[in-house]
């Protein structure tokens, strides 16, 4: 958790993106609206224009009517035929309103060109066109002739040609003319008298209903376009303002949401660095972000719980590590050094060493199957059971018998333990050891090389509660060394998955095994590490080195009196005398003295009787006293015989079944606190001690 990297983020990218999207959408919206609306605006302007032009046409017709009426009243020319209102005709190629010749150039008729007035009134312009008669026009022509039937020509009473003649002017637009010819009416754009205009044509009919001409009212296209531009411009700004308002609102919302996301992000960043905020995350919303916050809070709680558990696991691992003795012994009698290098988390290996009494040092190494907390718990139990039973003074095999039985109780998980324990008698050098399925240790005897201390291994611990373990013995001499290890040593792997192996181990020890224990172990670990080349190891690596230095009780205070005797009953008296004299001189209490003499008598007699069958030999008796302890040692070169292995007589048998032999050795074992036997260099060495 603590190693989590600080996440590098661009905290503004989402906000910028939202802003850009809003902006783009706004531009798109404005453009679309503007384009579609401009067309409608134009249509509307055209419609407005049309209705106005319709009014204009009606006004013009009214004017004509009024003019006719006025003319009648004004001129008093009553005899002339009066046409009905709007009664247009063409006679002899000229246009008449009733009897009035339009555009005849006379003052009287001049005002019948009323259309010029229109500009002043509505801003429209107007023209009158006449339909070319079936027969060509002869009147007021421009002299060019060539009129075609169905053409509409503009009536321009005030228009003069170069010779001063009134002319009927310009053609109407051909396209328009065709439409008018077909439908009689046209609204729209057209070219009128050389100008592009928006206009309306209204037909003029004679009394027979024949179309004789048209009135055109129009306005410059410019006017419509200006009006359209003006309205569209207004609309544009209206849309821009509305869209901007919407943008501001959206942006405010987005900013608010993103700000909440930012809060959530910072909260998560804190968690990712292992700093759990005290308060739960509250984004002050009831929307989807609320769910996000809830989930983050639940996740935080779960993480806290995990953190707590992992903290406890770490504590468990520490407890386990501290359970292993780390104050190593370095004294005159022996040196012990050890370490466990856990592969991962909590492992199952352990080593142990402790004194079971003043003179006995126990060394233990074990490997619990499996990993993690179950293995660690089992390891703690196994370690305590072995140590407790060993410190009760039980024999090593019995320690394993009992520890095994207890470990089997309720071991549903099929965890098992391989273990090796040796108990070294520091006075005699006797090592009693027991093996429960563990790889045998290496031992170096007498300046030689290291070799495996092989013994028939027993069943692993915690597998079957009925297993009986066997112990073996061996005498270590000062300078001898014992190296215990777990298979993590020999099974350390390099990158190619090859194993460190037994040979490398033995070779290393043979070269460096004489160095100080701590140095040996560190050197070996370094060798394994260089072999593994940084490869992570799957198994714990555990090792222990015992350096036996000096027989306790032989240096310092222990003054040894030693004498050789012939191994014959005749010398018994001398031997007892020697013992009595030696012990009496050292103020041994009489009762103990008597017991010691009894032991001397029993052992000496035994040796005299059995050590040298049919021959002669000597027996050496050494006696020393130290710290209120008597130590005696018999050495002979006779046939190998270990009295400690002799079967004890059953003292509870009834008389008839009692054996008369074996009593002597039994007595000695009972009298002495400890009796040990070893065979070295062809010699039987029997050592015994008794405290007083």
């Amino acid at each position: 958790m603590k190693n989590a990297k600080k996440i590098k983020i661009n905290v503004h990218s989402l906000r910028s993106r939202i802003r850009i999207v809003i902006l783009l959408l706004s531009v798109l919206l404005i453009a679309t609206v503007e384009i579609t609306m401009t067309r409608s605006i134009r249509n509307m302007a055209e419609q407005a224009m049309l209705s106005r032009m319709e009014g204009d046409i009606n006004y013009i017709k009214d004017l004509i009517w009024q003019a006719d009426h006025d003319r009648k009243t004004y001129s008093g020319n009553q005899d002339k035929p009066v046409a009905e209102d709007g009664d247009w005709s063409i006679q002899d190629g000229a246009l008449f309103y009733g009897t009035i010749l339009i555009g005849d150039g006379t003052e009287e008729n001049a005002y019948l060109e009323p259309f010029q007035l229109m500009k002043g009134r509505t801003g429209s312009f107007s023209y009158t066109f006449v339909r070319c008669p079936d027969e060509g026009l002869t009147w007021a022509g421009d002299g060019k002739g060539g009129y075609q039937q169905g053409h509409y020509l503009r009536v321009a009473g005030s228009t003069l040609d170069s010779e001063g003649n009134t002319i009927i002017g310009t053609y109407i637009d051909k396209k328009v003319a065709d439409i008018i010819e077909a439908t009689g009416i046209y609204c729209g754009y057209a070219n009128v008298v050389g100008e592009q205009v928006f206009c309306m044509y209204s037909p003029l009919t004679d009394q027979n209903g024949n179309r004789v001409g048209v009135i055109v009212v129009g306005r410059s296209v410019e006017v419509i376009e200006a009006q359209t531009r003006k309205t569209a411009g207004l609309l544009f700004w209206l849309i821009v303002v509305s869209v901007l308002l919407v943008d501001i609102v959206l942006n405010a919302f987005a900013t608010r949401w993103i700000a909440k996301l930012d809060i959530a992000n910072h909260y998560l960043m804190d968690i990712s660095t292992g700093a759990f905020p005290r308060k739960p995350l509250d984004l002050h919303t009831r929307d989807e972000l609320y769910v996000t916050a809830q989930c983050i809070n639940e996740m935080t709680d779960a993480l806290k719980e995990k953190e707590r558990i992992s903290g406890e696991l770490e504590a468990a691992a520490n407890i386990q590590r501290y359970m292993l003795p780390r104050e190593f012994a370095e004294n005159e009698a022996f040196g012990v050094n050890a370490f466990m290098y856990p592969a991962k988390e909590v492992g199952g290996d352990f080593y142990d060493f402790f004194m079971t009494d003043e003179d006995h040092l126990a060394v233990v190494i074990a490997d619990v199957s499996g990993k993690g907390v179950p293995a660690a718990m089992f390891m703690a139990i196994a370690k305590m059971l072995i140590k407790n039973h060993a410190q009760m003074g039980l024999k090593p095999c019995e320690v394993f018998n009992r520890a095994n039985a207890l470990l089997c109780e309720g071991n549903e998980t099929s965890i098992f333990v391989t273990a090796w324990m040796g108990v070294l008698d520091l006075r005699s050098g006797k090592l009693t050891y027991v093996n429960a399925g563990h790889n045998p240790p290496l031992i170096r005897l007498k300046d030689g090389g290291f070799d495996w201390l092989k013994s028939k291994p027993g069943m692993v611990l915690a597998a079957f509660d009925t297993v009986k373990y066997e112990q073996n013995e061996l005498i270590m001499s000062p300078g001898d060394r014992l190296f215990l290890y777990t298979d993590g040593v020999t099974e350390a792997m390099d990158a190619e998955n090859s194993l460190y192996g037994s040979k490398r181990l033995k070779d290393h020890l043979d070269v460096h095994g004489a160095e100080a224990p701590a140095q040996v172990l560190n050197g070996l670990k370094a060798d394994i590490d260089s072999f593994a080349g940084g490869q992570e190891q799957f198994d714990d690596i555990t090792m222990l080195m015992l350096d036996y230095r000096e027989k306790a009780g032989e240096g310092g205070n222990c003054e040894t009196a030693e004498r050789d005797f012939p191994a014959a009953e005749a010398a018994l008296q001398d031997a007892i005398g020697f013992a009595e004299e030696t012990l009496a001189a050292r103020q041994i209490p009489a009762r103990i003295l008597s017991r010691m003499l009894m032991a001397v008598e029993e052992i000496f007699t035994n040796i005299a009787k059995f050590a040298y069958p049919g021959g002669e030999g000597t027996v050496s008796l050494g006696i020393c006293t130290e710290d209120k302890t008597v130590r005696m040692r018999f050495t002979d070169q006779g046939v190998p015989f270990d009295p400690t292995q002799a079967e004890d007589p059953d003292i509870d048998l009834p008389l008839e079944q009692r054996e008369t032999g074996g009593l002597g050795i039994y007595l000695v074992k009972e009298i002495m606190d400890e009796v040990t036997y070893s065979r070295e260099n062809g010699r039987n060495i029997l050592q015994m001690t008794r405290k007083y």
């Binding site: 018994l572 003499l597 009894m598 008598e601 003292i651 008839e656 009593l663 039994y666 007595l667």
Partner: protein, 99 residues
């Protein structure tokens, strides 16, 4: 090792003194080797015995076996130190021992 032997009616009394060890045991053994011993009421006065080893124990065990069923055997006035040896070896359970 001093061995004094006296007959008192049906009782054959041995008064022992000194060390009953490997060296002296054969002496006592010789005294008890007589087949007639088997029918006797034997009493060993152990007041003077301050030391006994397995050789001595063996003699008492053999004698006890011999008299068993036909005679009897009793150790009296046994020194506590010696009595302890009888206790250790379980002899106290199969012999009549008085302190």
């Amino acid at each position: 090792m001093e061995i004094r032997k006296e007959t008192d009616g049906t009782v054959l009394r041995f008064t022992l003194s000194g060390r009953l060890d490997t060296l002296s045991a054969p002496e006592l053994e010789k005294e008890l080797n007589d087949p007639l011993i088997r029918t006797q009421e034997l009493v060993f006065d152990m007041a003077g015995v301050d030391y006994i080893s397995s050789a001595g124990l063996r003699i008492f065990l053999c004698t006890q076996k011999a008299v068993s069923g036909s005679g009897s055997m009793k150790l009296i006035r046994v020194n506590p130190d010696v009595k302890e040896i009888f206790d250790i070896t379980g002899f106290s359970g199969i012999m009549d021992i008085e302190q």
